[in-house]
Symmetry: C2
Subunit: 395 residues, 2 copies
């Protein structure tokens, strides 16, 4: 689709996306236009197939409708890439999902194979849900140059470095595409559809295989001078013993202590050393351990697993305490796969943050678990691309 | 003075402040107005005494002037409070200083005494330089609620907590007043008149008696949810030995390791223990040591003083390395009294930042010393208040 022809149309389209259908009479008031001017723009948008309803009585010989809404066939696409997963979600114009497919994919297969598969899955969800595709938002685990739409030095994914993901998909999908870091998109999802809605300045912290932060300033994602703001996984934290070596080459990084990869490593070592019966049994059964085994062992009362999670939470808390004093956020939202460890993890993070940050900064600052869970990803991706498409180039 | 009557006038006033005088013919083009519309606004501003020159030929029977400038009598005021100093600077409309007075003041005497003295000094500089006062910007060492114009829980200054500094001075000076944290104002000074001019997103780090940061996002100061963003002095840093107790009640804070107060403490201990002949002699002479003695001892080749500064720089570097990964600034500017320690300090900070932050974030990020020095304070304060006054309430 082509974007709006002017700022009035952009405001009308965004209003219908965010607040849903409106009577023709209300629309002008809601965007600050006279009724006659609003009618002109509504007719133009309807002529271009972007909205439905709102025809003036008898003007088209059809039945009269006073209710205006985004075209039922309007579609936005989210392509969410994880280290081991690919999720493609198609939404309607109001960003409600109408079709979705998820599968395991190893990103190390490289951009050609993975993006090729993403396009195949897009064809599949489009066949399922129909409609016309207005744009796609893509989330990538790692630093992204937002302006260029390319990953930059993503860890473990050398084949993706500076691959033109945006231009590749724009050509394949024949629609506008924007690419961002996955954590930024989850932060955007939390801002517009999640618990952080009332906050203009907040942090979203994703604890999954790795650990990263999305920074929202004044209601929009802050990406930094090179697009890599929020990379907190390689912050040095204090060690009780010798600091563990991190994949980045430094020692003692937060991710070297905690996160899915560190948990799997520590759980395996503990099982081998006989420090946890439950983990030893699971290792014997499965031949390998993951963060999921630690969560289950903790739920079953295993003291070693509980200690691992508490130690990890304490270290995340240390890093966040510094950031609270520096950034003074209105809220911290914790998400990502390991946030499923829930309140044991949260209690530890809160303990350190509230104890170590300055009272003025923590006074009324909530530290909460995400309620959107993984849905934050597609909500952020479709929000990003629909903002872009519906705002368009205005004069 | 009353603010501009419309956005055109606001643009004209800001242009004349930032770019200096202009010919009447150029002015309209520069702010995107037709020549006749610009002439109307110029005449109105001249009638109100805010600008001079630019009278149309013969219209007032005087000599013709085609050059328009801010009124020569326009004055902005900076009141810069330090822990032990008070500096009052009066500038013209283009923020060039026309009168200044500095004196030692102990802020612990409380707001009534200190602000009373600031008003007396204002009377003095106004008598010296004349003109009409358009507004005052006030910098305070400690957290400030910018919206309310009050200090909030300033360390060591209990008498200042929530004192209505803005309203107090607005009444006394009879002009608009804005109050902010001193480090934020120095960051603003660096943005508009210093080395950070080309950067929209950067950090200003003040290393003085304490250590704090000013955060600039998108060209404006980011103050955080409670107005206390940038408080990095109480970030925990790693210790080689037992972490020192901080005045904030925690242990191992950056300020407990480094800054003017920590240096004075460590230098005195070293002198008493016979670890530095130079410091011991100075202690015997003066009875007390300050950071200045450490700087001098380092300049004289004292190895202990050099070690103190290097250790401090390394710890500042540790904190900044985390912030670089988190915030991805375009530049870091180091200022404050201890930045006079110059390149020994800077080299250590750079070493840690470039080694410990992610390469993508540090790739082209300069870490530099402020070139404005203490002038950043009045430049930021008068910028803040003149932005406010010249932008005014536009319709």
């Amino acid at each position: 689709m082509d974007g709006p022809e002017n700022t009035h149309q952009a405001r009308l389209l965004r209003l219908l996306r965010d607040d849903g259908e409106r009577s023709r009479a209300e629309l002008g008031d809601a965007v600050g236009l006279s009724r006659s001017k609003a009618a002109v723009e509504v007719t133009r948008l309807a002529d271009r197939g972007l909205i439905e309803g709102g025809e003036p009585a008898a003007s088209r010989g059809g039945r009269r409708s006073s209710i205006v809404r985004l075209a039922a066939g309007m579609r936005f696409l989210s392509i969410a890439l994880g280290a081991t997963s690919l999720e493609v979600t198609l939404t309607d114009g109001t960003l409600r999902p109408v079709a979705r497919v998820t599968e395991q994919v190893d990103l190390r297969r490289g951009p050609a194979a993975v993006l090729g598969r993403a396009v195949e899955l897009t064809v599949k969800v489009r066949a399922e849900a129909g409609g016309f595709l207005c744009g796609a938002g893509v989330g990538i685990p790692g630093p992204v140059s937002y302006a260029e739409g390319v990953p930059v030095s993503p860890p473990f994914l050398p084949g993706w470095d500076r691959h033109p993901v945006r231009d590749h998909l724009t050509a394949e999908l024949d629609c506008p595409v924007l690419v961002d870091n996955d954590v930024n998109l989850m932060a955007l999802g939390e801002k517009h559809a999640g618990i952080a809605k009332p906050f203009d300045d907040f942090l979203f912290v994703k604890i999954g295989a790795g650990i990263g932060a999305g920074i929202v300033v004044g209601g929009t994602v802050y990406r930094g001078a090179n697009g890599c703001a929020g990379d907190i996984g390689h912050t040095a934290v204090m060690s009780d013993g010798p600091p563990p070596l991190c994949v980045c080459g430094n020692t003692g990084c937060l991710e070297a202590h905690f996160g899915g990869a560190a948990l799997a490593r520590d759980a395996t070592a503990a099982a081998a050393a006989g420090r946890s019966d439950i983990l030893a049994m699971r290792l014997a059964d499965a031949g390998t351990l993951t963060a999921r085994d630690v969560t289950d062992a903790m739920a079953a009362g295993d003291p070693f697993a509980t200690t691992l999670v508490r130690d990890g939470g304490r270290r995340v808390g240390q890093v966040l305490a510094s950031l609270v004093s520096f950034f003074n956020p209105g809220m911290i939202v914790i998400g990502g796969g390991l946030s499923g460890m829930g309140h044991a993890l949260l209690a530890e993070i809160r303990g350190v943050v509230y104890r170590s940050s300055l009272p003025l900064a923590t006074g009324d600052m909530p530290v909460v678990l995400s309620e959107l869970g993984p849905d934050a990803a597609y909500l952020g991706a479709t929000r990003m691309i629909s903002d872009h498409v519906l705002t368009g180039h205005t004069t």
